[in-house]
Symmetry: C2
Subunit: 465 residues, 2 copies
């Protein structure tokens, strides 16, 4: 980069090339300066809507020549400040790159553009007998899921984006285009660039095409809801289910506070006790066998109400509370903002980790529902903060810090699925130690002028590595 960033030249050139597909509108820019988290908006100088890899390459090349930052944007559902334009620059909104490039149903894979949402993909796949299982809850784009290494409720059975991305097309920091991975089910050909880009949050390149693994829709699916007298009883059931090797498709926990929130939000009348939401998939016989095994384990742990169903409409009703959980939490206080934690620990430490967290929360001055993908050892506390209360924000951050310290001491991670963004940069240092310097060297090698989503993942001091 020779001298200061030249945003004006870039904007002029973008308007010339992209016309109405480049917006300088204040509202559009503000909306693109934040995700769904509590982190304040930091608007980019312009938002461009490319429709092809070539468009993205042109934009990055232009920005690189002028030392201007580029920030990729999907659906704006990230939770750790992944899209904030901390130095201004150009937001590349990939939502119009929403084409299904190819579906190879006979190989259980497909290639798509990054703006496709997971619901659009599954709608498209409807008649193939296949589906894409990763489900982080939000109506996010697959590109955003690649960027943050997303997972969600189905990961306990199907893995995360790490396991389900086969290949990528990526625009690099100089505008050049590479392909990583491919369609082979496995490969030992060179460094695993695919996995390097998955979870890199737009800091190493901009993903413009994605090849995904697909899975056969199971012959049978059943859902269950199990209410427990204590959170320990619920978590012990989870641990036993996982250790017994039941190939469960989803196993989700909501605590008493979470259930209370959805009762209010969605007009439900569930018992406000720790509750597991389960889903079983497989052959009819296997689903029956799984449900029986889990019911037995649940009852041994004191579960009083175990309700299950294999009818689609009943399943949706059973799971309704879980689907509403995040927004129900936010609705606990008017105009509240949520700080959502995301620790993940080895399953044997989960009960202890949740118990100590709940003890911390007992004296918390704001609502703090706890829920999570407990089959992976992953859970969230959502601190429902008054945005005008620095005390509440400080207290939420203090409790978050304690949660992360506890999880790391147990061999866990500060983020199971939300990523680092702006919000967890210090935690990344706590967790990865000198590994952060290695990450920073890779960043420097692939983006020497720090134009790709600057400020994310690394603190400024890490850049000197």
């Amino acid at each position: 980069m020779d001298g200061a960033a030249r945003i004006d030249e870039v904007v002029t050139a973008l308007l010339a090339q992209f016309a109405e597909r480049c917006s300088l509108n204040r509202d559009v820019r503000d909306r693109h300066g934040r995700g769904e988290s509590w982190h304040p908006s930091q608007a980019p100088d312009a938002v461009v809507f490319p429709s092809s890899t070539e468009d993205v390459s042109d934009i990055v090349r232009l920005c690189a020549a002028n030392g201007v930052a580029v920030i990729p944007f999907g659906a704006g559902t990230s939770l750790e400040g992944q899209v904030q334009a901390v130095d201004g620059g150009v937001c590349i909104d990939l939502s119009q790159m929403s084409g299904i490039v190819a579906v190879h149903s006979e190989d259980l894979d497909c290639t798509i553009q990054p703006g496709v949402t997971r619901e659009q993909l599954n709608t498209h796949l409807r008649d193939t007998g296949l589906f894409f299982p990763i489900d982080p809850g939000a109506e996010c784009t697959i590109g955003g899921m690649v960027a943050t290494r997303a997972s969600g409720t189905n990961a306990v059975r199907y893995g995360t984006m790490r396991e389900n991305v086969l290949g990528l097309t990526v625009v690099m920091a100089d505008g050049s285009v590479i392909k990583a991975g491919g369609r082979a089910r496995k490969s030992a050909a060179g460094y695993d660039l695919t996995r390097l880009f998955v979870g890199s949050e737009g800091t190493l390149g901009i993903v413009t095409e994605i090849t995904l693994r697909l899975h056969g829709i199971p012959e049978a699916t059943a859902a269950a809801v199990a209410a427990f007298p204590t959170i320990d009883a619920a978590v012990d059931t989870v641990i036993q289910v996982i250790q017994t090797g039941v190939p469960i498709a989803r196993i989700e926990l909501m605590d008493d506070v979470s259930i209370g929130a959805v009762n209010t939000y969605a007009g439900l009348a569930m018992d406000e006790v720790p509750t597991l939401f389960l889903e079983f998939q497989g052959s009819s016989a296997s689903v029956q066998e799984q449900a029986e095994t889990v019911e037995l384990l649940a009852k041994e742990n004191g579960c009083a109400g175990f309700v299950w169903s294999d009818r689609a409409e009943d399943r949706a009703q059973l799971w309704q509370a879980r689907h509403n959980a995040y927004y129900a939490g936010l609705a606990l206080k008017p105009n509240a903002i949520g700080l959502v934690t995301d620790v993940c620990v080895p399953i044997s430490r989960l009960a202890e980790c949740i118990r100590e967290t709940k003890t911390d929360l007992a004296s918390c001055p704001m609502p703090a529902p706890l829920l999570g993908h407990v089959g992976d050892g992953n859970f969230h506390v959502c601190f429902i903060m008054d945005p005008d209360s620095p005390e509440q924000i400080a207290e939420a951050e203090r409790l978050h810090h304690r949660m992360v310290g506890r999880a790391l001491a147990m061999g866990g991670t500060c983020t199971g699925e939300h990523g680092i963004g702006l919000g967890k940069r210090d935690f990344l240092v706590d967790e990865a130690g000198d590994g952060v310097a290695v990450m920073a060297r890779i960043k420097h090698a692939l983006d020497p002028n720090y134009i790709l989503n600057p400020g994310k993942m690394f603190n400024a001091r890490d850049r000197s590595a």
Copy 2:
């Protein structure tokens, strides 16, 4: 690196620190200069046997200070010239670092040193009800399997090393030590360094500790052998098994030439026709169901002999031919050397890819048994070459080149599991294109003086990136 490599200083210092754990013996050095492949030995100047991460760090620090190459070595079973000391230097033989650091059976993970072999690990796990499934056939070390992103017969069900390594301790090119990943089942914390090191063939760092996923030993296991009139019929069966979603544990193909080789080698009397070797795992009911489904598909494809058994001793006998395949191939000619290909294609192209390959082989002037992990679309041809015949070597290379070109045109890869080493560097360029320059930039960022396993993965010209 300031000036020329100073191997003499390094050897003197190693002898002082490691005494009899540093060998200059010609035989020892020669043995450490090659794997099991046809690539000629290139001996290191010294072989050191460290017993700890600290030892490895000391060795690397010493070599870095003197500009001397370091080459990690496990069991010497690699197939693409991964351990050849092309510039001399110090071989770090990790076989004495064979400790089991921890087994967390309740979390289905363990941490081991890199010199542990997969058979040692499974012997150690015997009483836990768990096992480590990845089985490349050879009696290799787990460290070597990490380095080459190994897979093998079980990968169709359990994935490869990519999916089964949770975390690593790595000595970097300057001797510093980092930890990548951890014990959490999933994480979105920063770049996926774990996956970057898996498959990097010792060119980015030296792995000194490994945390692995383990799996529950299935309740029931059954094996089957199915003989087919044509190779198409066998491969079509494989494709249908995979597409039907049978959760098969192993599905291996041996062609008529391979079966003939094992008949001779092991005194068997199998029909010399294309044959599938299968293994089913799960509950008793599921194993029965899987076997019935596969038998039906096999018979629809003309299979005349489908033999199956769920008794352990019979299973071993059924699979005996497959276990002997590689060495049986080499034994087809006295003093022969084997060039083993390793393409992998999307499953829908497998029949076509194998058919065209067999057509090529019809006029091949040397034995060329074909076999493979066909459930992943991965297969090998083993060219049994006279080491004194440049014509045979040239013809094997020509046919190999055609196989790789065919696989790449079908969306496949030049190596499913053996890696790049010395043997496939040109193919990596064919396959990854400009991605190789990205790999080279990462290599340069993490090993600026090219002391880590030099000459592997990249051609000299790629280094200038």
